[in-house]
């Protein structure tokens, strides 16, 4: 019998590794939101106009909304399996602060569902005729913004994890909360295109990300305790 207790850092890494391993073994959960993002982005030119000029104007918004919806779709798998098989109870009963365990799960989830969307965004941006000078800015805003979407979505999922069917209620709860990030993301792209300095906007998004990292897992943790109760 080993006698050493794990530090919070070790437990954090173990949880992160476990969730990444699960994602690796369940490739569907990773691929589906990504495909969803591509398909939604494709629907806009078909539904609105194939005309390059007008597409270029709405490209940033389209990409952001597609990323938002993809993130929402991916959220569902965050706690559900753990809730159903009892792993969530084990997580709650560990001697480490739940904040870090939730954060580990959120990070793992973003790495497999948010990051691929961010990585492919320049390609979609090209297809939607976004002005080339905006690629980098769009990429950076998505990189800063999608983790916030994941962290906020986590609260909604944690609140509804005990419900049988919760697809719609999750959307009703989380989508309005995502509006400030949508605004910050799209405004950054548009305003820098108009010649505003990028730094101020990125600072705002960075501040939002920091606030989300420090507060959202607390709310998720409280919500998980309630849902498991």
């Amino acid at each position: 019998m080993s006698e050493t207790r794990t530090s919070t850092g070790q437990a954090f890494r173990a949880t992160l590794k476990r969730d990444l391993l699960i994602a690796y073994k369940r490739k569907n959960d990773v691929v589906n939101p990504f495909m969803f993002f591509l398909i939604v982005a494709t629907l806009f030119p078909i539904g609105i106009t194939p005309e390059p000029e007008r597409l270029g104007e709405i490209a940033a918004g389209v990409l952001w909304i597609a990323a938002l919806l993809a993130s929402l779709l991916a959220m569902d798998s965050l706690y559900r399996a753990d809730y159903e098989d009892g792993s969530l109870e084990q997580l709650l009963l560990s001697s480490h602060p739940l904040y870090f365990m939730v954060l580990a799960k959120n990070i793992a989830h973003w790495l497999v569902s948010g990051l691929p969307v961010v990585l492919v965004s320049p390609l979609i941006a090209y297809m939607l005729n976004l002005p080339p000078e905006s690629y980098l800015i769009l990429f950076v805003t998505l990189l800063l913004g999608t983790p916030i979407l994941s962290l906020l979505g986590s609260i909604g999922v944690a609140l509804t994890v005990g419900l049988g069917s919760r697809g719609l209620i999750l959307a009703v709860i989380t989508l309005p909360m995502s509006v400030p990030i949508l605004i910050a993301g799209t405004l950054t792209v548009q305003q820098t295109l108009n010649g505003a300095s990028l730094l101020g906007y990125l600072a705002i998004m960075g501040a939002m990300l920091l606030a989300a990292i420090s507060l959202a897992p607390l709310a998720s943790a409280a919500a998980l305790r309630i849902s498991v109760n």
């Binding site: 919760r166 709860i173 309005p176 400030p180 305003q191 309630i226």
Partner: protein, 276 residues
């Protein structure tokens, strides 16, 4: 099954205090019981029963004075003409709508920290009422602005953040109805209200920011009114008070119903039912 009243629990705990040395934990327990007694549904039901008639009288008086003044005596605005009279409905509703999330967040905090039953009843009844108030504020706002805007809806900063607040309120209501266990629903909605309250402020600022960048000069905005003479703002203050009272009265009425449902098995409610 006999349900012990608060009294029995108090007695049990007193007995324990005598038979054993009083520990800090038990003292805390005792304090908690005293606190929950203060905010007990029965206490609120009786107190609100006494206050309700006075509130209704005050509300009616203010409403009659306010509406008569607004409809008959306020001079037409030099720009908006008689549509200025819509302001006396819209502004009170809009201002109360902003109070719902803070109210629900405070009630939610009390629910989570002190587990006071009454706080959750306030939160539960406030959510649908808030959705109604917000909806009316939205409707009256768009009707008021329609003449100047030339359309029923524009993506004005105020209207947009009000619409988003409406969605957030609907989210709280649907979460409440989706969760079957009343206690879990109470706590989950408490968390969502606290998160939502923070979010309402973030949304408000971000939407204002978004709006000013997209429409640098939108001309007429519901938010900026020129400084008005007393004959314009005094009736507005009266209407704000009247509609605040109306809000209080309808909230209290709903809370009283909620109390009757939740406490239906307690002695005092059964006696009350017998008396009718």
């Amino acid at each position: 099954m006999v349900r012990p009243g608060e009294h029995d629990i108090l007695l049990t705990s007193m007995h324990n205090l005598n038979s054993r040395q009083e520990s800090a934990v038990q003292r805390a327990n005792y304090m908690w019981m005293w606190f929950s007694k203060l905010g007990s549904p029965k206490w609120f039901y009786e107190l609100s029963g006494k206050w309700l008639p006075w509130l209704v009288v005050a509300m009616s008086l203010l409403l009659v004075v306010g509406i008569t003044w607004a409809l008959l005596f306020v001079p037409p605005d030099y720009q908006q003409g008689n549509t200025i009279r819509i302001m006396y409905i819209h502004v009170p509703f809009a201002s109360i709508s902003l109070a719902f999330f803070p109210l629900m967040a405070v009630a939610g905090t009390i629910t989570l920290v002190w587990r006071m039953k009454l706080a959750d009843m306030v939160a539960k009844t406030a959510a649908p009422l808030g959705a109604w108030f917000t909806a009316l504020a939205l409707a009256s706002g768009s009707i008021w602005g329609s003449d100047i805007w030339g359309t029923w809806w524009i993506w004005d900063g105020r209207l947009t953040s009000m619409l988003l607040q409406f969605f957030l309120l609907v989210g709280v209501i649907s979460l409440r109805s989706a969760l079957e266990d009343a206690e879990a629903a109470a706590k989950a909605c408490a968390v969502l209200s606290i998160v939502g309250c923070i979010n309402v402020f973030v949304i408000k600022y971000s939407v204002d920011w978004w709006n000013t960048l997209h429409q640098p000069s939108s001309g007429f905005s519901l938010s900026d009114q020129a400084p008005n003479p007393p004959e314009v703002w005094i009736p507005l203050v009266i209407m704000i008070f009247a509609i605040y009272l109306f809000f209080a009265v309808s909230l209290i009425l709903s809370i009283r119903n909620e109390i009757l449902v939740r406490e239906r098995r307690s002695q005092w409610v059964e006696e009350l039912v017998q008396g009718t």
